[in-house]
Every structure is written in structure tokens, then in C-alpha cells.
Amino acid sequence: MTSNCEKPVLALGPMLFHWQGADWRDFYFRLADEAPVDEVYLGETVCSKRQPFIEPHIAEVAERLQGSGKRVILSSLTLVTLERERRSVRELAAQDDLLVEANDLSALQALAGRPHAVGPMINVYNGPTAALLARQGATVICLPPELPASSIAQIARSAPGPAYEVLAFGRVPLAISARCAHARAKGLAKDNCQFVCSQDPDGLAVSTLKGQPFLAMNGVQTVSFTCQALLGELSTLAAGGVSRFRLSPQRCDMAAVARLYRDVLDGALDPAEASDRLRALAPDLPLSNGFLHGAPGAQWIADGRRRLAAHE
């Protein structure tokens, strides 16, 4: 149970991109020491072929994060079709040490009856669904990125119990496919992909024929080109029952991003000032917050705070 007066939780989402083993490990080691996040999601959610690259490091990274007082949650795969993918979900669910985030219905099945987290790739669009999952043991629900603020508030109001989380920073996961467009764009088949997605640690930018940046390929996943940044909206969301905010790792100073969000949540930094600083931290990433306002997700609504307040 989380009540609105408790301090909102800042959580670092699972690393969406394919970072090499040691890079991956060092990224988390640094964050363990420097980033004011309360919780960290670990695990490969996008492509099971990448799992062997991080598995050898998960235990030491989890230990290091816990050592600096952060809770660790293990994230499951999003698209589960192969035998080894099913096994990976089963094994993840079988351990009792850490909370597990379900990103597919198979994980929900394996976790039913005990506390677990529900990831943004499980379709929770309304209160009845949230309440149902809560009855099955969900204590944390990260809502789908395309949900507008009106739906988020309505869900939190009508299905109290689980702690609700939204994506506050990062490229938005938009789609996942059985085929790998990323490998295909580099002239390779998925079965012999040579892990080319590791060449693009923030994804491979996709632009329109007119040269307008649009999306990014991340292996079998497609993410937004823009970086979702909820800042002016944080206080309204928190007042409406959202108690957790997710920061999705990108190749930028994530510790600084986390400090910035912490300051805004604490009321120590003005959201407008924060978005200027965020732009300086990630100069290559245009910001967006359209989804939350029921607008196209790629859009940036400059007066987000006022807009939300007007809808209250």
C-alpha cells in the first residue's frame, strides 16, 4: 500500500538497449554510487538473444545496488514464443529473493498468487483490469506509455491498492515484432544477426523520407525518436495517485537526470528550468510528452502543467 503523502519513488527502468556486458555492469555500478533512485529494474526485456551478455553480471550488479540501499526488481521478457524464452520466464518467476516485473502474460501466470510487479507491456487500460491484477498479487503496476493522464487518474482512483508507475523519462517503447528490423536494416537475418543492435547503444534512428527524425530501432523493438519527459506534470500525477516515476536508461548522464527529477519531485527545482537543463543533458533527444495529454506521443506540449490542471 502506498499513500499519496509518501515520497514518490524514483525507479530506473530496465535497460532497453543492447549494451555490452562490461559496459552494462559499469553503468549500474556508477549509478549505484551516484544516482538518487530508490529502485532499479534489471534484466533483458527486448530480445532473448541478448540475455547471455548480461546474465553473468546480474548477481554482482544487484548486490552492488542493494548495497547502496536500492531495491532491485527483475524484469521479464516482453515477447515470449521460443522454448528458451518460456524457460527464462519460469526460472525468473521461480526465485523468491527479488520482486519480479511481468512483461508478458506467461510471467503473470507464473507469478499469480504472490507479490509481483506488472510492466508497461501488459495492457492495463482501466480500473477493472488493474483491480483484477491486484487480486492476483500485483503490488506495482507500470501503466502503458500511451495512456492519457485522465485514464491514469481514473485507474488510480477506481482501483486503489497497487502502487502506480509511469514512464517519466526516456525513449518510449512503442512496438515489438517477431522479426528484427534492426538486423534487416543492416542486411542481416534475425537468426544470424551478429548482435548488430549493440552498435547503436541508443537505438538506430529512423527518419522519414523528408529527413524528419521519427522512430528508433532497438533490435526487435521500436522506440520513439523523442525522449518522453514528464516534468511539469509530475505534481499533478502524484496528487492523482501516481506514486512511482520511471526513468529509462539512455546514453547520457543518468545520475544527473535522476538528481534533476528528484529535485523537481522535492519542489526544489522549477519544472520549466528542469526541462531546459534536461535538454542540455541530452542535446540530441527532442523531448515529448504528448501521450500524457491525449495528443500524438511525439509532441511536446509546452504548458503541460497548466493543461493538466485545467482538466482537474
Binding site: T78, L105, S106, Y125, N126, S151, A175, R184, P296
Partner: protein, 325 residues
């Protein structure tokens, strides 16, 4: 194997029944179904007449209520299920777990089919929905290969239904927000993908550019067959490459695999296309019916004709063949 056919209006519904459908699926004229397109779908009265027509000819009617309930407006989806049950739908095709729970609770006798939008892509996921809501059938996502379809079908306590012809999603169904990223409207929330309300065709010199929500999706030289700007089938640039990077403008045709699907234990074959016209429905349904009834050796010739209906489009067996990935 049952043949499950689409209908976007009463005329197409009758054509599907007359052409040899075992079941026709349709949706109500609102955001509760995933083909919430202008001018399409059924009022309750039209639906009632359709069910009566189908029943008089021994054909079943399924109702797709397969978008995700908008928080605070759940009554619209509950009403759709209540109406479908009251009129006598043989099955409701659902994607939202909250709606499945409502249906299992209020109408325990009603047959529930799990929509492709529910993204149940493995035996555990199917088992979860079958246990929780007593679903009787699952429509499999178009991400599985034929051996995977066979394996899954053999290991779940429910029937399986697979798509064999028509439009094809490149992305896993029910888990795609590309459309709302560009337009604010999505399949899950609004029952539309790349909606016509956000489409514009613009001249660029002699060429024509199709746009969605202000993003250029494709470009056609004079005389080149044009396409609807479905986002995942557009032409883009990435890392020096230019082209249909996610998928060509292509449609699904798994009719060469009918025997393999039968051997896999699949219960029903589904034709996509509630947004297509009655002439298309009549042609596709009657041809596939003939193919199903014909000996395997005669099938290829029968279905060859259909490939022209795809109108300048090429076809693929999609994920059923592993090399597609």
C-alpha cells in the same frame, strides 16, 4: 477447420454467409471494436438481423469487442457484451482482461474467444486466460511459425484459431503504440491504426507523398501503385538504408499451408478484412471455401486467383515461415 469470415456491414455479412462461412465476425458501431472506421460496423438492430440471417442458414456469429476499455467509460464495453449475449452471439472475441472478467462473471454461459489483441503468444499465456476467464478459444498472434503453432495448439486446453489471409501486422498485435505516437489514436484505445482522419496525400513535384499526422510515410512516383499510409509499412531511412524498413506493403496469405495447419490441430482459420467491401468478402470467402473443400492437389490453382484481389499488393506467409523473421 472452421472458416471465420469478416463483415463490416450487413451487405458484406450476407455475402460471407452465402459464400460459405462457418462463422462471421463483426463489431458494433463504436470504439469497442478494433475496426472502428467511419461508415463501418453494426447498430444493435443491424446486428440482430445479421444473427437471424446467419442462424437461418446454420452459420455462427462472433462479435469482436476487442479494444481496451477506456478508464471511466467501461459501461460502453459492458453494454456491448450484454447486447451481444442478449442477441445470441455464438462467441464474443475479447482482449481486455477486465472485460473478460466481467463477461465470465455476468454471463458464465457465454463463449469467450481470446482476441489476437490480447497477445497470448505462448502456452502459459493462453493457460492463464483460459483458467482465469474460462476462455474456449484463442486467436493466435501473427508472430508464430508453423511448428510453434502446432506445439502451442497441442499444449493448451483451448481451441486455436489462426489468420490465413488478409492484412498483416508486422508488430505484435495489441502491443503497438506506433499509431498513437504519430496521431494520438491507437488500435488498443480507439480501435484504429493509422486513422484516415490523420492521413493526407500531398503533391511533391510529380510525386505524391502520403502523410500520417504530419509524418511522411511513403512517396510514389507517377504511375507507381500508391498505398495507404499504414505506419509500419511505410518507407523510411535508417543508417544509410532507405526503403520499407519494417515491412513491405504486403498482406498475409497462408493458403499454401492449409494442410499443415489442419495437422497442427488448429480449429479455425480466420480471414482478416472487416474494412474491405462486400465484393472482396464474397470473392475471398467463396474461393477459400472451395480450396478447403478441394483435394490438396487442386488447391493451388483455386487460390491463385485470389492473389489478384490484393490489388497491386504482394503477399507473404509471414511468421508462419521462420525465415520471415
Amino acid at each position: 477447420m472452421e472458416l471465420i469470415c469478416p463483415a463490416g456491414n450487413s451487405a458484406a455479412f450476407r455475402e460471407a454467409v452465402d459464400a460459405g462461412a462457418d462463422a462471421v465476425y463483426c463489431g458494433f458501431r463504436n470504439e469497442t471494436n478494433a475496426r472502428n472506421f467511419p461508415g463501418l460496423n453494426f447498430t444493435r438492430d443491424e446486428f440482430e438481423a445479421a444473427v437471424a440471417y446467419a442462424r437461418s442458414r446454420g452459420v455462427m456469429t462472433f462479435v469482436a469487442i476487442n479494444t481496451f476499455m477506456r478508464a471511466g467509460a467501461e459501461a460502453l464495453w459492458f453494454q456491448a457484451v450484454d447486447d451481444a449475449v442478449a442477441v445470441g452471439a455464438d462467441a464474443v472475441i475479447l482482449a481486455d482482461m477486465g472485460l473478460m472478467a466481467y463477461t465470465a462473471d455476468r454471463h458464465p454461459e457465454q463463449r469467450i474467444h481470446v482476441s489476437v489483441q490480447a497477445a497470448a503468444s505462448n502456452p502459459e499465456a493462453v493457460g492463464f486466460l483460459a483458467d482465469a476467464f474460462q476462455a474456449k478459444r484463442v486467436v493466435l498472434p501473427r508472430v508464430l511459425s508453423l511448428p510453434e503453432v502446432a506445439k502451442l495448439t497441442a499444449s493448451v486446453p483451448v481451441e486455436t484459431e489462426v489468420f490465413v489471409f488478409g492484412g498483416m501486422c508486422v508488430m505484435a498485435e495489441g502491443r503497438c503504440s506506433l499509431s498513437s505516437y504519430a496521431t494520438g489514436l491507437s488500435p488498443n484505445m480507439n480501435g484504429v491504426c493509422s486513422p484516415a482522419s490523420h492521413v493526407r496525400y500531398a503533391k511533391d513535384g510529380a510525386a505524391m507523398v502520403s502523410e500520417l499526422g504530419g509524418f511522411a510515410i511513403d512517396r510514389f512516383e507517377p504511375g507507381e501503385p500508391a498505398g495507404y499510409p499504414t505506419l509500419c509499412k511505410g518507407r523510411f531511412r535508417a543508417g544509410g538504408e532507405q526503403g520499407h524498413l519494417f515491412e513491405d506493403p504486403i498482406s498475409l496469405d497462408a493458403l499454401d499451408h492449409l494442410d499443415a495447419l489442419r495437422e497442427a490441430g488448429v480449429s479455425a482459420l480466420k480471414i482478416e478484412g472487416r474494412q474491405r467491401g462486400k465484393a472482396y468478402v464474397a470473392e475471398v470467402v467463396s474461393t477459400i471455401r472451395r480450396a478447403l473443400d478441394a483435394p490438396p492437389s487442386a488447391r493451388r490453382a483455386i487460390v491463385a486467383r485470389l492473389r489478384s484481389v490484393s490489388e497491386g499488393q504482394r503477399t507473404t506467409s509471414g511468421a508462419y515461415e521462420k525465415r520471415w523473421r
